[in-house]
Symmetry: C3
Subunit: 470 residues, 3 copies
Amino acid sequence: MPRPLVLHPDRLFPADPSVRSVARSLYEQVRSLPLVSPHGHTDPNWFANNEPYGNAVELLLAPDHYLYRMLYSQGVPLDRLGVASRAGPPATEPREAWRQFASRYALFRGTPSALWLDQVFSEVFGITVRLEADTADLYFDAIGAALATPAFRPRALFERFNIEVLATTEGPTDRLEAHAAIRRSGWPGRVISTYRPDPVIDPEHERFREVLGRFGEMTGEDVLSWRGYLQAHRRRRADFALAGATATDHGHPSAATADLSDSEAQSLFDKVVSGRFVPAEAELFRAQMLTEMARMSIEDGMVMQIHPGAFRNHNPALFASHGPDKGADVPQPTDYVRALKPLLDRFGNDARLTLIVFTLDESTYSRELAPLAGHYPALKLGPAWWFHDSPEGMRRFREQTTETAGFYNTVGFNDDTRAFLSIPARHDVCRRVDCAFLARLVSEHRMPEDEAYETAVDLAYRLAKRAYRL
Amino acid sequence: MPRPLVLHPDRLFPADPSVRSVARSLYEQVRSLPLVSPHGHTDPNWFANNEPYGNAVELLLAPDHYLYRMLYSQGVPLDRLGVASRAGPPATEPREAWRQFASRYALFRGTPSALWLDQVFSEVFGITVRLEADTADLYFDAIGAALATPAFRPRALFERFNIEVLATTEGPTDRLEAHAAIRRSGWPGRVISTYRPDPVIDPEHERFREVLGRFGEMTGEDVLSWRGYLQAHRRRRADFALAGATATDHGHPSAATADLSDSEAQSLFDKVVSGRFVPAEAELFRAQMLTEMARMSIEDGMVMQIHPGAFRNHNPALFASHGPDKGADVPQPTDYVRALKPLLDRFGNDARLTLIVFTLDESTYSRELAPLAGHYPALKLGPAWWFHDSPEGMRRFREQTTETAGFYNTVGFNDDTRAFLSIPARHDVCRRVDCAFLARLVSEHRMPEDEAYETAVDLAYRLAKRAYRL
Amino acid sequence: MPRPLVLHPDRLFPADPSVRSVARSLYEQVRSLPLVSPHGHTDPNWFANNEPYGNAVELLLAPDHYLYRMLYSQGVPLDRLGVASRAGPPATEPREAWRQFASRYALFRGTPSALWLDQVFSEVFGITVRLEADTADLYFDAIGAALATPAFRPRALFERFNIEVLATTEGPTDRLEAHAAIRRSGWPGRVISTYRPDPVIDPEHERFREVLGRFGEMTGEDVLSWRGYLQAHRRRRADFALAGATATDHGHPSAATADLSDSEAQSLFDKVVSGRFVPAEAELFRAQMLTEMARMSIEDGMVMQIHPGAFRNHNPALFASHGPDKGADVPQPTDYVRALKPLLDRFGNDARLTLIVFTLDESTYSRELAPLAGHYPALKLGPAWWFHDSPEGMRRFREQTTETAGFYNTVGFNDDTRAFLSIPARHDVCRRVDCAFLARLVSEHRMPEDEAYETAVDLAYRLAKRAYRL
């Protein structure tokens, strides 16, 4: 007898009836606001080509490292989950992979993945029983059948989801053809790009030289000279702006920045392109490039995002067999106070710059990030990120940043996902958690209720538009 | 139509009716207790001269870095807020500065500044509408009118605020004339000093040599010799004790302490006064001086406070234009376990010493500070400090220290402020938050209610008196 | 008039009536489950000899560093509390020591010690008034009288406490005679050992060479050769397995691991046994030995525990007078992401290994430990430990690990205690706090109630049995 799947309308609201009542009222104001998604990893080709998605595994399981990392931690090999290795997709039948997942769905109790998925199952697919071993096939078939219908094509879902703008993320040598195709198609959905130049900025990237070569070809610049290299970035930033981008993004191991003299920068660059550099020089080059990117942001008006602090590919055996981004990235302690100083010394007082900083190290919220954001005109705090994009994580973010940085040095929500179907659920979780936080302030008479209504709309909608210049 | 300003009598209490009811009862026991303010930064001249305050900006905005740092973070130049630069006060009309502030008061939603200010506006000035653009002039005029009346002179406010003792903080070359004048005046208000010798202890202080010179003149000691330098400290500590001081205070970048041999200390001192030292030697000298100060505390009975962990003057452009203490200090990770060891090895078991330690790094509460305070007889924990002097910060302090250090290795509240008018509000916030914490313990049957009453009074009043020997 | 001691049946449950009601129902399912104690420090001789305990001080105060560290922090010398020094037990009358404790019992308000003790006083001894100066003698006499009765002999208590299995911890040269005697006696209580080889793995241990010598004698191996030394560990692990052990335990200053080549390991070992090594070599040897222990765990199936991060014997004067484990250990920041990598690179993907990691640095819960445990098949998270084995500590553990690691990469509760009488109370606190956490998830509609029931039983009973292979 399968157990019912029920989304309670008050989920994520505090249990106390009076606080819940305030949370509910606040949420009513924001629940139907359009979704602004200024940072994420969906594939623009979905919207360019508008072809149907395949099946539940291909759409929901195989691309979602939140899911398969948990299953892997409990001893399930990635191959049995349909996750591709460096050798290509495994032979596993999708239905069999889905059963593996379904029979272990209890592992996700208490995790945001369960919240997101249950909302997708219920609201997107209309499923009314819980996922478990006994309902695995029912799910697989129901999802497969739905995906074959026009209502589940990417553009139809985009519209159904009430997405006002969706930012994707592309590398420095992307031709942005998908974005051009979307615009040419006449479809009015606003899908924009984001410039993420890591592969040509990180000398330790496994394909740095190769991508740098293409970067030169695409831009016609001599990217082996410091001037030409910077100029190539300028050209590509302009290309991205034409593809709607209003932001860049930088995913470095640390938040280190540098402010070298021009000649120092040039000679460091020469070392880096020669391939004869030590790790500290690679780190210094990445650091210097953040400051260069900030300088260009002031020139071209693009918002700058820094996502630092992940130890990437922590598991070398898995990296060898399956490549990067397979759930083996782990946060590490991250310094901001000293790391950001060179960049802030140079540009921190310049209100033309918007530098949005994220963290995987929650101990920095109250100690470093809120104090920095509560002082520097250029600095804003990105929302709770990745492992912390969760109800408890979002609550800690507000509790630990608001008193020093306020609400207005934060930038609303990022869904930051490649799981397209979960976008409404992710925004919904954040809207609910923010309303719950505001409701507590109201109920404890720390904020008048009328101001909480204004703030709720700011957090759910206006701040993201304003910060990302959308 | 201005919106009403209402201070709810249950503010900061948990929303659950049964917990709130306990919190309310506990708070009734402590709300009217006299204020003991053992550490702060008000100006003793206010009480010596008892002259009227000027206007709202001069009193409330321009000296309060909590306020102008937030406004600055949103792009408002300090000059427009009436904040003095190194060149002197700006030409901005106070009324105009106040309007800048008032029109952006929403930035402070959810911050302790808003809690404190609203209580000042309502309870001290009797204002009944909220601060916003439309009420800026009403506020400016009402505050100005009030300040011109005798009831708003410093001594009258001191009495109205029910302050039992107020400690100010003076540098090592202060002549303590204001304190002498207060005592000579016959006014019975107890305003005492605190010895804060940082400028003659920190070789990297921008005026170290100059202040050291005056230090020698004042004391008649040869402060260029190690013996004379220490003797000068002893003399000044005695002067401060005569001005009522029961404590010293030390605001170093780190909590580092050292316990050098006498000859090592002497030769380090020689280097430091010669001006030919490297940063590590400056750090070692500050570290050694904490241990020297602890030794003197055992001799003269003065309580010792350490306020470490601020990266001072993080913004060099602002420092150049406006000087120190302009909202550009940022916390940094702070070690205590290794840093305090030399001092604790020497004096940690000596119950004659009271060493009160503060932190800006909340990750140390449960990891380092509570375990240290729960063991060493000499060590006590100062309350949640600066960026953490806030409802959420105080709650985290109790939640993260009590289980290991108990309540009785903490020392009650410090308002630590130069914002004189906010002192009652600051104590009130702390009393409410502590009562809320105790009410939760009572409601969860983790503490009998009668013990919570005793503890509430200890936290609000007795612990501060006992720890600071008042 | 002594005040009544009352254990409220709803203690530790949230105050909100609806959440409390769920917590109460969940707790009803788990309150009477047998106690599984897979890690602790009781003395197996108690159960081998089954002799009566002495008096309240000998049983409850003198061995409990949680208690005497707090009293010491408030200036009470250890001698007055009956705590033995290196010179032996002090002359203090036990009744007098107990009075010292009783008269300061208020120091423990809000601490887990008070929760545990009150439950022991009430449920084990049936005392109905609170401990304070006036009831000190009443307590001392009542406890003394009870201990003289057969119902308070160790085995009777073990049975009354409904302990299914109790693990003790022994050193590498323990002859395990107590465990053999228990088995020979025919008493059915399951008391098992745990292999804790720190004294022969830590070259900086004060008796490393001496213990190593005995280690060689006991095993008949040439423990001054690398092969023989490893073989001796294998032999002793097998001895411990015969004494019921299913786990090893390792209490290193850091979580550092290493994966040296065989020849590197051998030459490092030669240095270490020669006594001519620097601290970094001692650290490297400990690090290498964790990886060796993991290798042996894969061979023999023993679960491996790492308890890192304590700065042991922080107070040298107390260490000199009273020796180790006297309440002067202090946590320090602990790295896991880099420290565990060599071991994880080698064995982290091997599901045959169960490596249970603990921390004293709560900032690592969400940043490092939950992400690592949510990925590596070999890694599991031990429960909130030592200073964090408390209601707030357990709540933070769940709030900061569940969203990334789930419940099923954690291993249930460890009481980790030498305070035998407090074992039921400690498990009860954890069961209550976990039920309170689950009740919040249920009440906020983040988990269906039926799943919370299953999970509650897993947390209270099944996970510990499964993880420790009991």
